[in-house]
């Protein structure tokens, strides 16, 4: 059996968890889910969706201390469930929360954890390690690795698997369990939430169009033309790390390995060279258009279309062409 952590935020499912369930289904027909700290109402909704994706049972950890995200407690609850169910593997989404909760689990059990795996193959005999392919350097490099432990603890690289519903399946059976938690497990928990971290309507993470600028934009004023173009296309403004380090734009707009990973329909990269750490954040875009003075810029290798030229001329020309079209 493979146990998959079904992650949620106040009952709202993290869709990456469904991908983790599909990844688990590819390894075993026997997949069960576990949800921590959701209300019983939310749990039965989750049981329906995870059931559709092939999980037969949804274990629900119930405890009065679990009213919001509490990562150390998740680790403890998972450890107790593992003890009881003895799965072959525990998987979660390769998200900040998925990685964090499984790292707590792995630490409590003193076992290795393989983060961000794109391929997993389970060992069939004791003493033989599991093998995984895991992302390094923001998925620019892939590592083949052995995991030496009976129980495999791993997270699934975010976009390496599509979530697939299993035809003819029904809601998972809900099974409640009561973890016994230590006071120290409950110290670190979400105590409150702040509003939107981005100003304006469209956020980077779900924008359909992103107009992104790099060092070539030349300074904070230069971003006005990118904002105008993004506005016309109903999109958001992004940028490279050079731009945030210089304080030209807020960090919330940074795309890349240490910024936000985006996957819009259209990504326009203006004055960005295409360092691999930047590419790591935008390579899942459907179409990438480059505007760069340098015909040798590395970003061209990852792009679909390019205009060679000064963005300060090309972007205003594009903006007026679109305005003209829209009348």
């Amino acid at each position: 059996m493979i146990l998959v952590l079904v992650d949620h935020d106040l009952g709202e499912l993290d869709p990456l968890s469904l991908r983790a369930i599909t990844a688990a289904r590819k390894l075993s027909a026997d997949v069960q889910g576990v949800v921590i700290g959701a209300t019983s109402e939310a749990s039965s909704k989750l049981a329906y969706v995870v059931g559709e994706h092939g999980a037969s049972v949804l274990h629900v950890a119930q405890h009065e201390g679990l009213t919001d995200y509490t990562p150390a407690a998740s680790g403890r609850a998972l450890a107790q469930l593992v003890e009881k169910l003895k799965p072959e593997a525990v998987l979660a989404a390769g998200s900040p929360r998925g990685n964090e909760q499984l790292a707590h689990l792995a630490t409590l059990l003193d076992l290795p954890m393989a983060a961000e795996c794109s391929v997993i193959s389970l060992s069939k005999s004791p003493g033989v390690p599991h093998s995984v392919t895991r992302a390094r350097w923001a998925a620019n490099l892939l590592e083949e690795a052995f995991v030496h432990s009976d129980l495999l603890i791993a997270t699934v690289l975010a976009f390496s698997v599509e979530a697939e519903p299993v035809p003819g399946s029904s809601a998972a059976t809900v099974e409640n369990f009561q973890p016994s938690l230590e006071p120290s497990d409950l110290i670190v928990r979400v105590m409150g939430r702040g509003g939107e971290s981005s100003k304006g309507g469209v956020t980077l993470a779900d924008a359909k169009v992103i107009v992104s600028g790099g060092r070539g934009v030349g300074g904070p004023e230069g971003f006005a033309q990118l904002e105008e173009l993004a506005g016309l296309l109903g999109g958001a403004v992004g940028c490279s790390r050079v731009v945030t380090s210089a304080g030209w734009r807020p960090h919330a707009e940074q795309v890349g390995q240490t910024g936000t990973k985006v996957a819009p329909d259209l990504y326009i990269a203006a004055g960005i060279s295409g360092a691999m750490q930047h590419i790591a954040g935008c390579k899942n875009s459907k179409t990438i258009v480059v505007i760069n003075t340098d015909p040798e810029a590395p970003i061209l290798a990852y792009a679909d279309y390019a205009i060679i030229g000064d963005l300060h001329k090309v972007i205003p020309a594009l903006t007026s062409a679109i305005k003209e079209m829209k009348g």
């Binding site: 670190v188 509003g195 390019a306 001329k313």
Partner: protein, 252 residues
Amino acid sequence: MDVLVCLKRVVLAGSTFVLTPDSRDIDTKHLGFGISPHEENAVEAGVQLVEQMGGSLTLLTLGPTDAEEQLRSQLAIGATRGILLETEGEDWDPQATAAALVEAIMAEETNFDLLIFGAESADSAGYQIHIRVAHALGRPIVTNVKSMKIENGIAQCERVVGTTRELYEVPLPAVITVRDGLNIPRYPSVPGRIQARKKPIDHKKPTPRVPKLEKVSLSVAPSNTAGAQILGSGPEAVPALVEVLKTIGILA
């Protein structure tokens, strides 16, 4: 306020990686080294705390002898001292690294109020060394912190998940991991660099362990496009781009 920051020497590559012939490592012959942006933010946060509240900032790294270079460059922005746990140059797995860091921290006389880590290492991105260290020391840990304030022995931390900001409060002593964007790291000054040369660095030899997460080989991830189609030069190419935007359904 005594702060400890853990950092890792990593290669700085531009747009491609070249691997060694045995495919076990990156060929670093023509490359420079640094630390992850997350860890630069961690050091900057430590320097700011010590500036505001007094105390000390210790830097701890496990790596090859050459990792002294990374300690020196971060000492130059204001840290007090460094500890280098010397390896033979090979990567240690997360459990072995965490065990060595814990041993070094416990051997210190200072009872650090705050340990700061990067959210994940730039190269191996295991997302776990800090959590293992926190458990071993019996301290609470908040990860992925994007903004932080310390008041009356409590760290108020914010982390950003999607579009919401999560708020946490933890009593010190604690562990936090930080993300790029927490602050804007300063550049070292010339006097800072000169002082850094004289700051103390302890060298220790940690005991290696058999890796449980064992690297077998590396490969360069395939790129998914064949390269860009050049639409033309300068503003004259704009009509061609407009056509493309129509074809892909962005413009009607």
